[in-house]
């Protein structure tokens, strides 16, 4: 399972990849305290669970084809996260650093592009918004009631 409701254990993820390799690259996506100039109190990640699992699986399979000597581990949080918490963790282990960096970078870029996970920012003034990375500035419209 790539999606986790509990804090991500980066040490365990690191321990899960090969240690005989020459280069291990770690990417951690962390909840920021602001976005586009607005302070953020916390973040909610919502996922279409079944599809997110299969999409990340598809991405992992693609990475394994493109970088056959590289081992990649991926975990993504769902639920409510505080500022500073790790939202996504990627570990890529390869015989040389170039492949480790490349596979790690490709993993996070592809996850952001297609995996059905959504991010809602909560602001100190009580407003919330679903982030739209495709928009130049975040959409401010759906800023009202919290879900049932």
């Amino acid at each position: 399972m790539y999606l986790k409701e509990q804090p991500l254990d980066v040490a365990a993820l690191l321990a899960g990849v090969r240690h005989s390799d020459g280069g291990v690259c770690v990417f951690l996506g962390v909840v920021r305290n602001e976005n586009a100039g607005r302070p953020t109190e916390k973040i909610e990640y919502q996922a279409y669970g079944a599809m997110a699992e299969s999409e990340i699986g598809r991405i992992a399979a693609g990475l394994a084809r493109e970088w056959p000597d590289t081992q990649v581990a991926i975990r993504h949080r769902v639920g409510e996260l505080s500022v500073g918490e790790v939202a996504v963790a990627i570990v890529a282990s390869a015989p040389h650093r170039a492949e480790a960096f490349a596979a790690c970078r490709a993993a996070i870029d592809r996850i952001k592009a297609t995996v059905p996970i959504w991010k809602r920012e909560f602001h100190p003034d009580g407003t919330t918004e679903w982030l739209d990375p495709s928009a130049a500035t975040p959409s401010r419209s759906p800023t009202a009631p919290l879900p049932r």
Binding site: G29, Y45, Q46, A47, Y48, A50, M51, A52, S54, H76, A87, V88, I108, I111, K112, A113, T114, V115, P116, I117, W118, K119, R120, W130, L131, D132, P133, S134, A135, S139, S141, P142, A144, P145, P147, R148
Partner: protein, 83 residues
């Protein structure tokens, strides 16, 4: 014939529901269902740039012309923001 429609993120806020069963006419395609939903809930198309957001049938991305079958699980995806 009916399909199950799942709503996420801003679409869940607009529709006020997480999922629903919807009767569909035989031969209906993904784009037909989207048009029907928008006619009922114009807010779904509020921040849309193209004619239809990405869609998934049974948890797989698919195109607007995909025919729907009885019991399909259909989702229209607001802009994803993982990572």
């Amino acid at each position: 014939m009916s399909v199950r429609v799942l709503y996420f993120a801003s679409f869940r806020d607009v529709s006020g529901r997480q999922e629903e069963e919807r009767p569909i006419p035989p031969g209906a395609r993904v784009a037909d269902l989207w048009r029907e939903l928008v006619a009922e809930m114009p807010g779904l198309a509020a921040s849309l740039t193209g004619s239809m957001p990405p869609a998934a049938v049974n948890a797989e991305y698919t195109g607007p012309e995909t025919p729907l079958r009885d019991g399909d699980e259909v989702t229209f995806l607001p802009p994803v923001a993982g990572g």
